[in-house]
Amino acid sequence: MSTELAKAVVDGVLTGGVYALMAAGLTLIFGVMEIINIAQGILVVLGAYLSYVLQTHLGLDPFLGLFITVPVMFFVGVGIEWGFVRRLKQQNRTALSILVTFAVAIVIEGILTQFFSGDLRSLHAWYVDRSLHLLGFYLPYIYLLGFALAVAGLAALQVFLYRTRTGYSIRASMQNRAGAQLVGIDINRVSAITFGIGAAVTAAGGMVFGATTTFNPNSGYDLISRLLVIVVLGGLGSIGGALIAAVVALVIEDVTAVLWSPVWASTMFFAVLIVVLIVRPNGLFGRQAARAQ
């Protein structure tokens, strides 16, 4: 029992890292633009399908394929921001942004259904099916590699935000949008880049997601519901909060599956959110401003 429990915790941490990467994009977009990107879930699925296409048609390894899929997803994100989000009027922007990104998600789901049908797919590679035997655990290589990828991605994001000029602009816009504009930051450019980064991380997240589970165009709903729970749990706009929330939520889910039953594991995931909200309506690391209307 105790080894099963330890295994559940380790699995939770490893998958939590990947979810943290996907959620970081979502919370970054919220922080800069004050909009919730409902399309984040389907973008992950799109990233998984891109890796799938590269693998089945060009025989490209999913990890090598990231050199293509990450830039592609970046430009998809920039396109969505430029095409739809930027054109929203200031009045009712919050509500409309949710509907717009939902509509984008529906269109992408439709396109994926058209090309790939609703059949379940999955990515294959030597590291997907084999496990590493370590300290009495059997850890699938893909979990380890995915976690390493997530850590690398998050570290790159950290360096980008804290060590580059564009990163400074993004953080300034997160702190005070109007102030950032006053000191000469091109808010449109920052928004486009932010949305691009938010989408680019889904290419990496989607690849790992596609390698660890089967997916179809419908998988976006399950993903976005989890990602939303993670970002609200961590506090909207807080990247560090999203990381901790992702790991905590996934560990709780995996531990529930072992201690109680796998059937209730995903319910537990949402129950955590409800309990936290009763105690702290702003999430674990939310800013007070999130409550002001």
């Binding site: 919220f30 004050e34 919730i36 739809f84 054109r87 929203l88 009027k89 009045q91 009712n92 919050t94 509500a95 409309l96 949710i98 509907l99 717009v100 939902f102 509509a103 984008v104 998600a105 529906i106 269109v107 789901e109 439709g110 396109i111 994926l112 259904t113 058209q114 090309f115 609703g118 709903y221 519901s225 939303l228 729970v229 970002v231 609200v232 909207l236 059937v263 209730w264 995903s266 319910t267 949402f270 129950a271 959110l273 409800i274 909200l277 009763i278 309506p281 702003n282 999430g283 939310g286 999130a290 409550r291 002001a292 209307q293």
Partner: protein
């Protein structure tokens, strides 16, 4: 400047239109007897009810709830469980349980609302979505109440195929009328003003003595009551229910889109939105059996509405009409209007420019 649409003439025209629409709705199944048509009409009426209910809380208070399928599914499963436990036979009597299903859904709305309304704005939206997924998961997992993914059967009504839909159509019409009447009554009451004040500035409304918590929760539960009735009728019509159909994420956004299309926060907006959208959606599903294309078209339609009609059809038309009435030179003077002795000044080009 006076609102040219507030004259008794226009008010009378509005009442007349509403009366005519009601007569047309009652006469509809006698004119169009094709079951395929009456089925679409019934679903349209149910969406008129659900979308008006959504607007009653979210449109008036500005809190975007994207989890109303919680009420829809609760009403549906309540009816299925009561019919099963009491071994009821199919027939008109089942409809008597529909208001009870609505009450049950409204009761579900109290703890859900209490929890969700602790948050605001984006967080509120996300919390409603999360609670929706909790309910969907519960519907899969609570086998004793829902039979999980196996679904539940409802009693089969003994009606003939020709008139089968008419009973459901009548029930849906009653619910739709109740929803519109409630929405209208709330809009004209102090309760409605409280909700609008919350939308404009919640903290200030609270400072001025609006009991915001209570008002929000009451409106949320009222929305649950109407949406639950729509869910119960849908369940009875379909005959069997499954978790993903009655707890459907697309339902959450469809009713919101209808209200947006028609005009957020207006009484007629959600009605117009549902009348336009639901038949179109049913047509798309029938015309393109391929799910991909109908999803793409639905999403694009969605994007076009938000891009070009962010205010909605009803407010945009009203503005156009006002503009036409004002720029026609002579105002349409109703008996209640002040005498236009200062009208010469109004004919100067500058004054004729309508602000905005």
């Amino acid at each position: 400047m006076n609102d040219p649409l507030a004259t008794p003439l226009w008010r009378g025209a509005r009442v007349g239109t509403a009366g005519l629409a009601l007569i047309a709705a009652v006469a509809f199944p006698f004119v169009f007897t094709n079951p395929a048509v009456t089925s679409v009409a019934m679903f349209t009426l149910l969406f008129v009810g659900s979308s008006s209910a959504w607007n009653l809380f979210s449109g008036y208070s500005g809190y975007m709830a994207l989890g109303n399928a919680v009420f829809f599914g609760s009403g549906a499963y309540f009816l299925a469980n009561v019919a099963k436990d009491l071994h009821l036979k199919g027939g008109i009597g089942i409809f008597a349980l529909v208001p009870l299903a609505g009450l049950f859904a409204g009761l579900v709305g109290v703890p859900v609302g209490w929890l969700a309304l602790r948050t605001r704005r984006h967080t509120f939206v996300v919390v409603t979505i999360s609670i929706f997924f909790v309910f969907q998961l519960l519907a899969y997992n609570l086998h004793s109440l829902t039979n999980g993914s196996g679904g539940m059967q409802l009693p089969m009504p003994p009606w003939l195929a020709d008139t089968y839909n008419n009973y459901f159509y009548a029930a849906a019409l009653v619910v739709a009328v109740v929803a519109i009447a409630l929405s209208w009554a709330v809009r004209r009451s102090r309760f409605g003003l409280d909700l609008l004040a919350i939308r404009d500035d919640e903290d200030r409304a609270r400072g001025l003595g609006v009991r915001t918590e209570r008002v929000k929760l009451a409106a949320f539960a009222l929305t649950g009551f109407i949406t639950g009735m729509c869910g119960a009728i849908t369940a009875y019509y379909l005959g069997s229910i499954y978790p993903p159909f009655v707890f459907d994420a697309l339902f959450d956004v469809t009713i919101a889109l209808m209200a947006f299309l028609g005009g957020l926060g207006t009484v007629t907006g959600p009605v117009v939105g549902a009348l336009l959208l639901e038949p179109m959606q049913q047509y798309l599903t029938l015309r393109f059996s391929n799910a991909g294309i109908s999803l793409i078209l639905f999403g694009c339609l969605f994007l076009l509405v938000i891009r070009f009609l962010p205010e909605g059809v009803v407010p945009s038309l009203a503005r156009l009409l006002r503009h036409v009435l004002r720029t026609r030179g002579e105002p349409q003077a109703g008996p209640g209007d002040p005498p236009p002795y200062d009208s010469p000044a109004d004919h100067s080009p500058a004054a004729r420019e309508v602000p905005r």
